[in-house]
C-alpha cells in the first residue's frame, strides 16, 4: 500500500499544489514586495529603506488622482462600448450561427494572431489625420476642418474597446449558447413578445457571461498604458502610463508601488459593488 493510497484525502490538495505554488510565487510574493516597497523612502542613488512611509500614498493620490479617475472612466466607457458591440454579435452567433458558429468565433479571436502592439500601431494609421476615417468624417461634417481623431480621448477609448473586445464577446457567447431556446418559446407562449421574452428570459440567463465579460474587459483596460501611449497624448495619460514611467523611467519605486496598489484596490472595490448590484444569487444560476 503506497503512501498516497493510504492518505487519499491528500489527492485534492495534490492536484491543487501546482496552481497554489504558481499563485504563491507569482502573486503572493510579488504583492508582498510591492506592498513593502510602497512604504519605503529614499532615492535610486542612495537606495530605498523601509520606513512605513504612508506619505507615498497621500502623495501619489494627490498628484495622480486625475490619471486614476481617467483610467477608470476610459475603462468604463470602453467596457460599455465593447458590451454594446459584442452582445448582438455573440447573440447572433449563438442563436443564428448554425454551422458557421466555429468559423465566426475564430474570426472574433483572429486579431489575436497579430501582436497587441502592432494592432494598436495599425490604429494610428487608421485614425491618422490624413487617414480615411478622419477624411470621411470631415467630408460629412462630423469633424471640423482641422479636427482630428488621433491624439484624442476618442482614439484611446476606441483602441481599448477594439483590443479587449474578444474578452467581452467570448464569455457572452459562452453563456448565450447555453440559454435553452425552448425557454424563449415558453415565454412567447406566455404572452411575451419577442423583445419582452429577450429582456425577461434570455438576457437574465446571460448575466453570468455579462459579468465575466465586463470583468475581463474592465480590469485589464483600467491598467492599460499602450493605447494611451500610442493613440493619445499626455492629456490622455492613464494611471498605467504613470506607473510605467515612475517604475521604468524615473525609478521612483515606492510611489509606483503605491499607485499600483491604489489601482488594484480601486478595481477590487468596483468589482465588489458591481457584483452586488448584478446580484450574486442570479449569477449562480
Amino acid at each position: 500500500m503506497g503512501f498516497l493510497h493510504r492518505h487519499r484525502w491528500l489527492t485534492p490538495y495534490g492536484l491543487l499544489a501546482a496552481g497554489l505554488g504558481w499563485l504563491a510565487v507569482f502573486f503572493v510574493v510579488p504583492m508582498y514586495y510591492l506592498a513593502a516597497t510602497s512604504l519605503k523612502s529614499g532615492d535610486i542613488d542612495f537606495g530605498y529603506a523601509f520606513t512605513w512611509a504612508w506619505g507615498n500614498y497621500a502623495h501619489a493620490l494627490g498628484r495622480y488622482q486625475e490619471q486614476l479617475l481617467r483610467s477608470l472612466e476610459y475603462a468604463g466607457i470602453a467596457t460599455l462600448a465593447a458590451f454594446l458591440i459584442s452582445y448582438p454579435l455573440a447573440y447572433w452567433i449563438a442563436f443564428r450561427g448554425g454551422r458557421w458558429k466555429n468559423v465566426l468565433l475564430l474570426l472574433v479571436i483572429a486579431p489575436f494572431f497579430v501582436t497587441y502592439l502592432i494592432r494598436t500601431l495599425a490604429w494610428q494609421t487608421i485614425l491618422a489625420d490624413d487617414g480615411p476615417v478622419a477624411g470621411f468624417l470631415r467630408t460629412i461634417g462630423v469633424l471640423g476642418a482641422d479636427g482630428r481623431l488621433l491624439a484624442t480621448s476618442f482614439a484611446v477609448v476606441a483602441g481599448i474597446t477594439y483590443n479587449f473586445l474578444p474578452f467581452m464577446a467570448l464569455p457572452l457567447y459562452a453563456s448565450l449558447e447555453q440559454v435553452d431556446k425552448r425557454l424563449v418559446e415558453a415565454a412567447e407562449d406566455l404572452y411575451a413578445s419577442r423583445p419582452v421574452a429577450f429582456f425577461k428570459v434570455t438576457f437574465p440567463l446571460s448575466l453570468p457571461g455579462v459579468f465575466a465579460g465586463t470583468m475581463l474587459t474592465f480590469i485589464p483596460a483600467a491598467g492599460d498604458f499602450i493605447n494611451a501611449q500610442l493613440l493619445g497624448t499626455p492629456q490622455q495619460a492613464m494611471i498605467g502610463n504613470v506607473i510605467q514611467s515612475r517604475f521604468l523611467v524615473l525609478n521612483d519605486y515606492p510611489e509606483a508601488s503605491a499607485l499600483s496598489l491604489v489601482l488594484m484596490l480601486a478595481i477590487v472595490g468596483i468589482v465588489v459593488v458591481y457584483a452586488r448590484a448584478l446580484g450574486t444569487e442570479r449569477l449562480g444560476t
Binding site: D189, L190, Y191, T285
Partner: protein, 355 residues
C-alpha cells in the same frame, strides 16, 4: 362548422423543405373536451400541436380558435398555453414568478396575480413552494409547475406536448389521474399529444390516431379499440390478431386455410369482394369451441403475467395471441404443445383492408 369547436384546422399542410410533416389535415376539437393526438414519432402530431400553439405556421390551410382565424399569429397573441415536454421552466425565477409570468405579461394587477398564482399552485399541490427555484424540485413537481404556469392564464385551449414522457411509470399514472381531475374541474379544452396509447385511452374523450401526417381514425377510446378502421389503428392501439382473407358474402370472409368466418352485419361496410383482414382482440378469443367462428391449433408459447395468461396458438391460418383472464385461483395453464380450439362470435370481430 360547429359552433362549439374550440380548435378547428382547415386543410392544414406543413412541410419542412421536402418533408411533409402534416398532410391536408382537417380537424375539429369540441369545446371542453380532452382530445388526444396519438401516433408514432414522425406522424405529425407534435407539428400539429405546434401549429395550434403558433410555434410553427402552416404551409397551407387555416387554423381557428373558436370563431377567430389565428393563422399567422405569433404564440403570444393566441389564447392557448402549452405544457412543454421539457417543462421549459425559467431557471432564474422562483416558482411564484414562473407561474405569474403570463399574468404579468397580460398586465393583470398585483393582488390578482398573487391570488390567482397562489390558487393555482394550491390546485397542483405545490402551495408553500412559492419561493423555490425550479431546480430544487423533482421531475414530478416541475411537471406540476409547468401545468400551473399554463393553466393560471385560463387559456381557451391547453396544449400538452408529451408532458408525462419524462416521468417514471408510477408517477405517470398518478399524473394522468390528476390531469383528468383538473380538466374536469376547470372545463378547459385539453389537446394532448402522446405516443403512449394507454395514456391516451385512459384520459381522452376523443383520440385522433395519426400516421404519415394524416388522421388515420378519430373517435372515442372504445370505438377505436373495438372497431379500428385500418390495420394501422388495430396494430397501434393495443394488440390484435389479423386473419387475411377474401370477402365471400354479405357477412362472411374466407381466410387462408379455407375456413369461412362470420362477421357482424355491416362490418364489411358494403364490401362485396376483395382482400380484407378479419381482426380479433386477444382477450376476445375463447379457448373453447363455443363460439360461432372456431379455429383449431396448437399452443406454442405461454406466459403467465398475473392478471392474465397469454398464449400464442399456431393455427393453419396464422399464429394467434390469446389472453385468458385468471379469474379463479389455480385455473391451470395449458402447456406448450396442447391442442386447443379457439372461438369468437361475429360481433367481436372487425374488418380492415388487407395490408
Amino acid at each position: 362548422m360547429s359552433a362549439t369547436a374550440d380548435v378547428r384546422l382547415e386543410r392544414v399542410t406543413k412541410h419542412f423543405e421536402d418533408v411533409v410533416a402534416v398532410d391536408d389535415l382537417s380537424l375539429e376539437i369540441p369545446s371542453g373536451s380532452f382530445f388526444a393526438m396519438l401516433g408514432p414519432s414522425g406522424c405529425g402530431k407534435t407539428t400539429t400541436l405546434r401549429m395550434i400553439g403558433g410555434f410553427e405556421q402552416p404551409s397551407e390551410g387555416r387554423i381557428f380558435l373558436g370563431e377567430s382565424d389565428v393563422t399567422g399569429l405569433p404564440p403570444y397573441r393566441r389564447a392557448v398555453n402549452t405544457v412543454f415536454q421539457s417543462y421549459a421552466l425559467f431557471p432564474h425565477l422562483s416558482l411564484f414568478e414562473n407561474v405569474a409570468f403570463g399574468l404579468r405579461r397580460k398586465g393583470v394587477k398585483g393582488d390578482e396575480v398573487k391570488k390567482r398564482t397562489r390558487e393555482m399552485l394550491e390546485l397542483v399541490g405545490l402551495g408553500g413552494f412559492e419561493k423555490r427555484r425550479p431546480r430544487q424540485l423533482s421531475g414530478g413537481q416541475q411537471q406540476r409547475v409547468a401545468l400551473a404556469r399554463a393553466l393560471v392564464n385560463r387559456p381557451r385551449v391547453l396544449l400538452l406536448d408529451e408532458p408525462l414522457g419524462a416521468l417514471d411509470l408510477k408517477l405517470r399514472r398518478q399524473m394522468q389521474l390528476e390531469l383528468k381531475r383538473i380538466q374536469n374541474e376547470l372545463k378547459i379544452t385539453f389537446v394532448h399529444v402522446t405516443h403512449d396509447q394507454e395514456e391516451a385511452m385512459s384520459m381522452a374523450d376523443q383520440i385522433a390516431i395519426m400516421n404519415g401526417g394524416r388522421i388515420e381514425q378519430l373517435g372515442g377510446p372504445a370505438d377505436l379499440y373495438e372497431k379500428p378502421a385500418t390495420a394501422f389503428v388495430a396494430g397501434f392501439l393495443g394488440a390484435s390478431n389479423l386473419l387475411d382473407g377474401e370477402v365471400c358474402g354479405a357477412d362472411a370472409v374466407r381466410i387462408a386455410d379455407g375456413t369461412v368466418l362470420r362477421v357482424a352485419a355491416g362490418a364489411l361496410a358494403g364490401r362485396t369482394g376483395g382482400s380484407v383482414a378479419v381482426g380479433v382482440r386477444p382477450e376476445k378469443l375463447r379457448l373453447d369451441a363455443s363460439g360461432v367462428n372456431v379455429l383449431r391449433g396448437t399452443v406454442t408459447e405461454t406466459s403467465y403475467v398475473g392478471v392474465s395468461t397469454q398464449y400464442i396458438v399456431e393455427t393453419p391460418a396464422a399464429d394467434l395471441v390469446v389472453y385468458v383472464q385468471n379469474a379463479a385461483p389455480g385455473a391451470g395453464t395449458l402447456a406448450p404443445g396442447s391442442a386447443v380450439s379457439l372461438s369468437f362470435d361475429p360481433e367481436v370481430a372487425f374488418v380492415v383492408d388487407h395490408v
